[in-house]
């Protein structure tokens, strides 16, 4: 039921438009992966080639070490044992909740079906809704039924296509955590597609950031945020600004905000100019600091303030400050750098 999944150097597209190029990633049994990227980056296509709705142009796909897609062959979707939760849930409107969940349980006795349906409804927390009709359910409830329906036949891998996109923002993260718990309970290998990084962080063990059909970086949320491999990932994940700096030695750069020392060698020539990524949490509000900047804009976010600051050199940075530090616009405040992860991009 939970399986290895391996995507190897896959190219794919529609008609003569190439959408994916050289996409590779792997998941171990029970792992939850996420394809994260802006809309139109090809992330849904990844799901569609895994499900078998689209063929691959090159490369291959293995489910549980068995090849299901290659340049020359494409196993039909109904033989892949792949579960899918659609963006619009695609519950069958002519079937009750119970019959929707039962729909994929072929080749079981009706008693076994009944047991499995009850089990799935219990797992998604909706045992009382067996006789309800899809149109009577709220969006979140429909989503849980869609999940139960997809998981009922114990698929090798579960694919989720933007499953939370139609939900209220406050519901999303809560649902994402719930779904993660259900998947872990079922020990299901799963791949989620989303454009929302908070969803990805809440659900996935492993995240692939994708842009223009190419995987930019793979890793945990922590790695993507603190050690982005390129400017796209740095820009797409989290907030931050890029400021110029001069390389002083193998691990240190000098910026207008002061000197930053990294833990690892930068691999850039000493004396050259580079760009440094400064996250809002790298800039600390400290009245005792010698450096200061003027508040240009501020956003109150409950637990903290996000300040947009302009330094005397004209460079702007963001600063995350505890929410009791309320400063007026145009006020000058003291700041200092506290960088854990030094991220440097060569000037191009």
């Amino acid at each position: 039921m939970s399986s290895y999944i391996d995507i190897e150097n896959v190219d794919a597209g529609y008609d003569d438009l190439q959408v994916l190029s050289q996409v590779s990633f792997s998941l171990e049994p029970g792992q939850i992966g996420c394809i994260l990227g802006p809309s139109g980056c090809g992330k849904t296509t990844v799901l569609r080639v895994i499900a078998g709705f689209e063929a691959v142009w090159a490369g291959r796909i293995l489910i549980d070490r068995v090849e299901v897609s290659s340049e020359s062959a494409c196993l039909v979707p109904e033989k892949r044992n792949v579960g899918m939760v659609f963006q619009d849930f695609a519950l069958f409107p002519h079937l009750s909740v119970e019959d929707n969940v039962r729909f994929g349980l072929k080749g079981m006795s009706s008693k076994e079906q009944q047991v499995r349906v009850q089990e799935m409804l219990a797992i998604v927390g909706m045992p009382a809704f067996a006789q309800a009709w899809p149109h009577q359910l709220s969006g979140g409830q429909q989503q849980r039924i869609a999940l139960a329906r997809a998981l009922a036949p114990k698929p090798s891998v579960l694919l989720l296509d933007e499953p939370f996109s139609s939900m209220d923002a406050d519901l999303r993260e809560q649902l994402a955590r719930e779904v993660r718990n259900i998947l872990k309970q079922e020990n299901s290998t799963a791949i989620l597609v989303t454009h929302d990084q908070n969803e990805a962080f809440a659900m996935a063990d492993r995240i692939c950031v994708m842009n223009e059909g190419v995987i930019q970086q793979q890793g945990s949320g922590y790695e993507l945020y603190h050690e982005p491999a390129n400017r796209f990932v740095a820009d797409f994940i989290g907030q931050g600004v890029i400021i110029p700096a001069r390389v002083e030695n193998a691990t240190t750069v000098k910026t207008d905000l002061g000197r930053i020392e990294g833990k690892n060698p930068l691999g850039v020539e000493t004396g050259s100019m580079v760009d440094v990524l400064i996250r809002p949490d790298d800039v600390v509000h400290d009245d005792a600091s010698g450096e200061s900047a003027i508040v240009v804009e501020k956003a109150f976010r409950g637990a903290d303030f996000l300040y947009y600051l302009r330094m005397d050199s004209g460079i702007e940075v963001m600063c995350l400050a505890p929410s009791h530090h309320d400063h007026r616009i145009n006020e000058r405040i003291g700041i200092r750098l506290d960088v854990d992860h030094l991220v440097v991009f060569p000037r191009g």
Binding site: A90, G104, K106
Partner: protein, 530 residues
Amino acid sequence: MALLFSLPIFTIAGFVLTPAGEIWQHLLDTVLGEYLRNSALLMLGVAVGTLLIGVGCAWLTSVCVFPGKRLFAWALLLPLAFPAYIIAYTYTGMFDVAGPVQTWIREMTGWKVHDYYFPQVRSIGGAVTMFSLVLYPYVYLMARAAFLEQSVCVLEVSRTLGCSAWASFYRVALPLARPAVVAGLSLALMETLADYGTVAYFGLGVFTTGIFRTWFGLGDSAAAAKLAAILMIFVFTLIVIERWSRRRARYHHPTYRYRELPQYRLRGWRAGLAFTACFLPLLAGFLLPAWQLALWALDTWRDMVDASFLQLALNSLQLALGSALLAAVLALFLAYGKRLLDSKPVDAAIRVVASGYAVPGTVIAVGVIIPLAWFDNRVDALMSSQFGISTGLLLSGSLFAMMFAYMVRFLAVSIQAVESGLLKIRRSMDEAARSLSYRPLEILLRVHLPLMKGTVLTAMLIVFVDVMKELPATLILRPFNFNTLAVRAFELASDERLADSSTAALAIVAVGLLPVILLSLGIGSSRAAS
């Protein structure tokens, strides 16, 4: 598959190019001018008639309030249940010299038959009136839908800019509804061109009657096919106009904020006028002829309803039911194939099949019989030379040929319904079922069919009724001694046994009421939704 059903259309199209025979030259010299003139006159008259009745009633029932408005909104569709040829016999029976109306006039005034002028029903003017009375619902339906869809804002803007209610109608509402009206009008004109029963009964020389005469009278199939080809050019012009106006209709929605239209409350003589304007078409197009038919049927049904009549009814029923089922299955097959394959050639082939509905039954019959006869002759020749057996006519003149012609003509209806039903089912439904290990055919049975039960049934109902009413193709293609209600009604009426034909006619009208009721229910629910 789709190509098979477009074969007759291509056959006829091919005859545009074939060299002309002697008879063709003769036709050209003698009757072709008459056919063209009569057809043009008919179309012009029907256009004016259906526009006046259809648009007028649509406007009244959609934006004015007067007594009976809700009733008229759907009752105005009733004339759609009358095939033109049946209303034509009925009125002829009512208004001819020996009919009840003229008899009554003579009794009241003491005039003799030649003392007064009375308009001839069996004339071009009569035909125009008959067609207008039963075909205006096409224009009415489309125009009403367009009026109801119009944004209230544009009408209110025109009022604030100083247009009166009438001026708003002429300068804003009507231009906005024009594409829909033109689409409805071209449907009405297609039906006019396709008609055989009425014009044959009235003795008018138009293309459909010409095809019959050339085929049966002169025995020249090539010339008949050439006439059919010319008729088809007319029809395709109308199709192009219809498509074009529908496409334009899409751009005619300046805003998507729809509200209930402004309701002009009519009182006094205005309300009476509106009531009369809506009541007259209903009276003349449905109530009067239905009343007359019922009277006749009451007189004659004891003599008419016998074993052979029941046999006719059974024939009609079986044919219609069989065609409806077959059309639904074929339409599902074609539309589902298109959904699965998503290929351009399949798409184009289905478009051609779908144009069959616009092609007159006469043309299709000729287009069916030519290739089938060719096939029969080939098989016969082959069998005679190889085995010494003459197979005779295998397909032409068989039920198969009839069913085939019905499919060519009516498949479009069911394809359209099935396609629109399929379109409403999101692709993710298919994919969800496939990811749950269902094969495409299982998905069709377990997901699609249950979801579009309603649409498929509607499609079957419409084909059923159309086949019941169908006259010209049945007349040409029916096997020897095989009759349907429609053919029987036509034959009896042609023998001037109008009263005797009424039972069969009434049966056809009764069946024809079914889709009209369905349509009016649809209209009712769409109003409830708004």
